[in-house]
Symmetry: C2
Subunit: 424 residues, 2 copies
């Protein structure tokens, strides 16, 4: 790719932002390389449904190459971006160096354990497809193990599931786990006493869903507690976790073999190697034009970028990434025409926030409009179905949700990491 005469634009990351940038540059007289360590794009907002056996891998993972089937100036390069040689405009990957004229960092975020190593070691993050599948396998295995366990204390430990973090991921995961346990497992594990099972949601602040108005925060806690039997613990901080006991700051602890950590994210660590200014979460600080300071040829968007607006960095959510992708594409087009062009400045247009709590219950806040309950849940489903990649998936996920709604089956309950012993 080094001997090409056309400008080469390299996009790191095939999430919402990266895919949109590459699509935006299609059919231009440039060569585009989109790099990802996986060969698929993941619909991250529904990872929690994979981890709770509601959806399957294929329904939220989409082959990256399928996006660019008919756009021959975009090539996919499956590799792990590792470092930069900005002087020579080279991105260093585990599959060799890639020269760029313009570089777009859309590398995303990973779980932030805030330096708590034992927590990181024993609990589950939920930012990748592989992590979500690991949670699914572990949760299902806990039930199988519980049926074989004659020690009541140990059995309760197996059947206690803790989500840490009261953001959308933690709330949605806690609600979905509760549905899985009381709505599905309780019908099929005839030997288990489901009063021994418990879902706990732990949040350090005194509220959940920080981006929501107060009354929807209250509603969320009410539905989780009253309808879904989730033990919601706000103003509760995690101190340590050894795989058996989750230790809290107030001195108490929760015996559990399952901690799902959704309490924070940070930029993927490789972006630090750029040497540019980063914030506490490792995100690259960008100009209003989305360019990295002192590197006008490098843009950063989405979860790995820190864009200040109204005195605060924008949240790490999909709409920020997709809106930034549009401005990023505009600015690259301007630079291609004239390297000294005046670039567009990005402003995030708030599209509101939504979170589903459980079947039939969601909360939606858009500007001054607030919704809760069944119609908010339908709105949540419609928005997520529309955003899923590919028409096939739009239809099949709708069908699966409808089926799960009717029969509560959760057919995704497949433990696929059993050892391969004795198969040959």
């Amino acid at each position: 790719m080094a001997d090409t005469k056309r400008p080469h634009i390299v996009v790191v990351g095939a999430g919402f932002g990266g895919v949109k940038v590459a699509k935006g540059l299609a059919e231009l007289p440039v060569d585009v390389t989109i790099i990802d360590r996986n060969n698929f794009h993941v619909f991250q907002p529904l990872l929690y449904q994979l981890s709770t056996s509601e959806l399957d891998e294929n329904e939220i993972a989409y082959p990256i190459r399928a996006f660019f089937r008919n756009t021959k100036n975009v090539r996919f390069f499956m590799a792990h971006a590792e470092d930069f040689d900005t002087e020579n405009k080279v991105l260093i990957t585990d599959h060799g160096d890639v020269h760029y004229d313009y570089l777009v960092l859309a590398a995303g975020a990973m779980t932030n354990f805030f330096g708590m190593e034992s927590v990181a070691k024993h609990s589950f993050g939920m930012k990748t497809l592989q992590e979500a599948v690991a949670i699914r396998n572990h949760v299902l295995r806990m039930f199988e193990n519980a049926t074989k366990c004659e020690d009541a204390e140990e059995r309760r430990r197996m059947l206690t599931f803790v989500c840490v973090g009261g953001g959308p991921t933690g709330v949605e995961c806690a609600g979905a786990l509760s549905e899985l346990i009381y709505g599905v497992m309780a019908h099929e594990y005839h030997d288990l006493d489901f009063s021994e099972a418990k879902v706990v949601l732990v949040e350090a602040m005194d509220h959940v869903l920080a981006m929501m108005p107060d009354e929807l925060q209250q509603e969320t806690i009410r539905v989780l507690h009253d309808i879904r039997k989730v033990d919601v613990r706000i103003s509760t901080q995690v101190m340590d976790y050894d795989g058996e006991e989750l230790k809290l700051k107030d001195g108490s602890s929760i015996p559990t073999k399952t901690v799902i950590w959704a309490a924070g994210v940070k930029a993927v660590s490789f972006v630090k190697k750029l040497g540019a200014e980063t914030d506490r979460a490792g995100r690259v600080v960008v100009e209003k034009t989305l360019q990295v300071k002192e590197h006008p040829e490098i843009f950063a968007i989405g979860d790995c970028a820190n864009f200040m607006q109204d005195g605060r960095p924008l949240a790490t959510v999909a709409p920020v990434a997709t809106q930034q992708a549009e401005v990023c594409v505009q600015n690259i087009k301007k630079l291609l025409k004239d390297p000294n062009a005046k670039l567009s400045e990005f402003t995030y247009k708030d599209v509101g926030a939504m979170a589903t709590i459980c079947r039939g219950h969601a909360v939606v806040a858009m500007g001054s409009m607030k919704m809760r309950g069944f119609f908010a849940w339908v709105a949540w489903m419609v928005v997520h179905l529309m955003r899923l990649a590919g028409t096939y998936t739009n239809l099949t996920v709708a069908y699966k949700w409808f089926w799960n709604f009717l029969f509560g089956l959760r057919l995704g309950r497949v433990i696929n990491d059993t050892e391969m012993q004795d198969i040959r």
Copy 2:
């Protein structure tokens, strides 16, 4: 489970035979335990579609407990059956001993490499979900690696896919691989020269699909070769494989990084520990009543049993297992009423054979009726859809096939075994 007063029937294996036996014993005054090392039932005839990215895990794997949701006398025990203590009527598993009054061995088969250790080490079997996923990941990775490889010889090696064995699995897999390569990959790997790609089908005998009439065997080879560009090599025997070169008996070799071994099966190895008479493929020789010789309390059915009919052992196919399951249930019911009852003798009613070659082409032989081409293919699809577990799957697989037929997308192209490095 030891202190129960009701007769305890233990079924090993939740394949076609085992699930049918457990269902047949539901609602009787007995306790049934069905044991499997996985928590799911696999629709083995479509494993090749998982390995070629046509279908996803969920579409051919069904949670075992979902079969027995409303049958409270059947419990599922996830464990690996390891040995027998027939004197005390105990099955030994990796999760403890299980006492039985009657034992049904429906443990299935695994790949038979006929003692060729290096072949076993470097090639892929395709009898389990995990193996099929491993093939999928490997095949997809070969294409990604090929785009990065500048050595033409090495690239051809990566793009050469060999199926060994001309039975239904080998034929179907070769046809599906060819479709994947020329119908899907060729549209998305713009940098690759697909004249470098090749699918080879190797069979030791002088024909494929041994159970089919001669003209359908010829038709199969013709379609594979003329329409699907598969290099069909009959009368060709494999000698060795080191992961790079597949050595053949005639002294030639095929440079390839992918060998899918579908040339034979044998009973899972644990059934040998019973100490009863077994055949060369490790299958337990059973009486006409499906009882194991000298063990009237133990039945064996399906792929792990050797049942002689017309002087030959029955084939290891699903209809044999399901028909045997019916007679096995009848005989257990008789024994429960009267331990000295005269038991039913099994006779296999041939339901014919069918194999799909590729989109629009299949061969079907039922008695004197022979079909080929498009209508045979539709018949193949209808039969397989009807047999899939669960109404949800019946519909969704039909929908996916239709979608793949229209657009040739193969959305299952997800490499899900990438390393988890740098996600925390």
